[in-house]
Symmetry: C2
Subunit: 274 residues, 2 copies
DNA sequence: CGCGCCATTGATTGCTTTCAACGATTGTGG
DNA sequence: CCACAATCGTTGAAAGCAATCAATGGCGCG
């Protein structure tokens, strides 16, 4: 009986995410959850960790969106990792003493910390814990690699479409999605800084996708009318997120095109046949 | 006394690299070295692992250069990770059953394998082993993040300069560098596929750097006349590679600009002062 | 000697950036 | 209730970096 999803103040996206590793037991998850300390709210646009900072704790994002980023000499910002509810802000902190990128919030957040020493001890007693953390790192790595592919070889349109797909799947793990969409707290400048695009171009690409009917974006509310079609445009294949068969979300099964949560409610007719 | 650098057929770049984690003992390194099996030569331009392949072993590159890559629908290739002597081709294999990118050689290589199950058992007995592997993953992650920054916000010139700097430092760890340079087995198309540039543009940028006197590249032999200046152009700071103080290379100390191995022999006068 | 691979070069096209301005929205204080 | 500032989204025009297309030269090898 997992309680990590109940509403009794025990909703823990971090544990929900870890469970997806498939190599950690409920008992181990509970112990891990008890190790979370110093739960606190953080304002939007606030640095949790400065670049090169030293820390002996893992910072876990329990709510809100954050990012890892670096500033270049000319003042430009590049976001290297988008952090969603349940993500660890500095997973490398387990193995390296200085974080190499700054971590900042993009929306109001709730964070907690996990002591590295304690965690290492726990991992020795419970191999499943260490393995789940390793899995987390592997997924982070794969996500970064996929971003590299976007920045290296995809057009602005492809990059944005791909990011929007990825976010849907990642958010779905912790139940932070709606019907066929989610709340996107990012401003267009943030999206540009993730994908290596200018704000202006980001704006134009988003409008293009809107006019094509591929996305619906009003204010912060984002919807995907036709998931398979957006995936096709994005060349999005969720394999790299290693989420298994994507069951346990809405009971959605894998689709012909690729494991897809939204496919549970094919909202629009005329799905693009492969 | 570490024997991993002697010439008695015991040169093992994998162990040399692991040692840099600073959290693994010589005894543990020896045990780990004994676990390497099936050492074999592999031709250039050969896939070691197909995309989505399943494997229960870590593939360790003992000599030569390889890469992780994906092919896009339009036939374009994006290399996500460059693998140098001593690197693990599929580190994520420890935590995930299907690799998400293909692994292919770029030059003639020597590879060996490490059984994941055996490795996990070893790691339980020797925490230093697990930690060193985690460190390896953290560095890989940071490298990927730095690449993201290049692709997202740096010009072609900056990207290539940065890559050339990174390769020098990474190669220096295993002693695969010469005076102030190294052998670059990549063809220009490979470099372009790493950095998201076309072959033609890669060529022009390289020529530009040559004409500026920033690099010397004749055939496969690459030299850096003025390391600090190239670092400056690249905005290269080796922090993210987490190699400590870069001692033990040529006895070089950290320079004012950043830890730099080549600075041991400041080959050219008139270093660009910050 | 001819083929194949690779580096190089020129010309053209175009996606994206940059610059600049304006409209929309929100929150605040008078 | 309205003025006002600040943030964010949108639009137009111009400039630029890099891609694409096409072709040539160099070099190693069978």
């Amino acid at each position: 009986m997992s309680a990590h999803r109940t509403g009794d103040g025990h909703h823990n996206p971090f544990l929900m995410r870890l469970r997806r590793s498939g190599t950690i037991g409920e008992a181990e998850l509970d112990v891990l959850g008890d190790l979370l300390e110093g739960r606190r709210p953080v304002n939007a646009h606030t640095d949790l960790l400065a670049q090169g900072a030293r820390t002996a704790q893992l910072h876990v994002l329990l709510d809100g969106w954050a990012c890892q980023y670096k500033l270049l000499a000319d003042g430009e910002r590049q976001i290297t990792t988008l952090l969603l509810p349940g993500d660890v802000c500095n997973l490398d902190g387990l193995y390296v003493d200085h974080v190499n990128a700054a971590v900042g919030t993009l929306s109001p957040c709730t964070v907690a910390t996990l002591d590295c020493v304690t965690l290492r001890i726990l991992a020795r007693r419970h191999p499943g814990v260490g393995r789940a953390l390793g899995w987390l790192g592997a997924v982070e790595n794969a996500t970064l690699a996929e971003r590299t592919i976007s920045l290296g070889r995809r057009s602005g349109r492809g990059r944005i479409a791909h990011l929007l797909c990825e976010l849907f799947v990642r958010l779905a793990v912790t139940g932070d999605t709606g019907e066929n969409g989610y709340t996107l707290p990012l401003i267009q400048a943030d999206v540009g800084d993730v994908l290596g695009l200018s704000t202006v171009h980001t704006n134009r690409v988003l409008q293009g996708l809107r006019h094509e009917g591929l996305i619906v974006l009003k204010g912060r509310e984002f919807h995907i009318p036709d998931w398979p079609r957006l995936c096709e445009v994005a060349e999005f294949r969720p394999d790299y997120l290693h989420l298994g068969e994507m069951d346990g979300l809405d009971g959605a099964r894998s689709s012909a095109f690729g494991a897809s949560p939204a496919v549970a409610r094919p909202a629009s007719p005329g799905l693009a046949g492969g």
